[in-house]
């Protein structure tokens, strides 16, 4: 039924429903088409078509050292890696060196402003006082009375209050007694 030695289905049993004559007819046609001879001169025409194709031509060719097959790209990549690693190591080394140089120098002292002594028993919790150069608001000063006046004053006022008919609450001026004239 099938003369093709490479046919994958040659060893398989086909379905009973398949008519052998129909099956052979179809495969004969396909095999006939597949075995048709190529037209004469096909190879020559293909050669001519290929020769008519533009070739890769270079006026200047790359020097051998710069071609990809010479391995220059691999060498350049290796050099770049070495450069990055060495540069990073040098950067770390110089930074550590400068830190050590700074440690050998005397430490810088920052002068803090002197703290004002607190007046009370409690501390100021580090609060800074305002500078004393600024004029602050003037507080009303209490009137100083001499001790002699202080002793005499209350009696006279008591007398005045007793002779006058005014109440102290009215605050009206008190008339001088006739004896004081």
């Amino acid at each position: 039924m099938n003369s093709n030695p490479h046919d994958p289905m040659a060893s398989e049993t086909t379905s009973d429903s398949i008519s052998a004559s129909v099956f052979t007819t179809a495969e004969e046609t396909l095999r006939l088409i597949a075995n048709l001879p190529a037209p004469d001169g096909l190879e020559d025409r293909v050669h001519a078509a290929l020769n008519a194709m533009p070739r890769r031509s270079r006026v200047l060719t790359w020097p051998r050292a710069l071609r990809a097959e010479s391995g220059w790209m691999r060498g350049a990549a290796a050099a770049a890696i070495v450069f990055v690693v060495a540069g990073g190591g040098w950067g770390v080394y110089t930074r550590v060196e400068s830190t050590q140089m700074e440690q050998n120098q005397p430490a810088k002292v920052i002068v803090m402003p002197p703290r004002m002594p607190s007046t009370g028993g409690l501390s100021g919790a580090g609060a800074m006082r305002p500078p004393l150069t600024l004029p602050g608001p003037a507080a009303p000063q209490p009137v100083k009375i001499s001790p002699a006046k202080a002793a005499k004053g209350p009696v006279a006022s008591h007398k005045t209050n007793s002779h006058s008919g005014h109440s102290a609450a009215t605050g009206a001026p008190v008339a001088e007694p006739a004896a004081s004239r």
Binding site: H6, S19, F23, I33, L36, L42, P63, L66
Partner: protein, 201 residues
Amino acid sequence: MSTSQIFVAGIAAEWMDNPTSAVNDEARQRAEDAALAALVDQYAGALYRVAFSVLRNQADAEDAVQEAFVRVLRHRDTLGEVRDHRVWLIRIVWNIVLDRKRRAKTRPETDDVADLARVLPLKGLSAEEHAAAAQHHAHVLACVDQLPAKERQVMMLSAFEELSSVEIAAVLEISESSVRSRLFRARNLMAGLLDHERSLR
């Protein structure tokens, strides 16, 4: 002399060395051309038959073969990496003819009959017998065209005696078991189609 000067001098020496590299390029190009010419001489006929089995037109099949070799010419740098040139070339031309078949408008069956009558061998047949045979084959091919694409492709490639099931699987990029199952389904469908056509007559 600094390092950069040494490098530039080396490059200049390489530029001066151009004749040698040009000779190498020419030799390599000649070798590639010779390899390509050998492929054309060896496989052009087989590729044509594969192309004709799909396109069923002499001129179109020949164009497909030329296009396949032009593609090979463009990628001739990879020729050394190909293991089986025959299967590789058949896969190229197979993709080309499928693409052309997809883009082409459906041809009437009468064109197929005329083309087949032109290319079929006479084998001592009379003119009437020859015409009847061409019509019969065109009718069978029309039934093949009614098959699903996957089954049709496997059935057409299996008609080539030089292609094993492994090679058909490589051309279609499927497994060998898929080739077997698709071929089995194609034969069943084909028998049903031909029986149906015969009963209508």
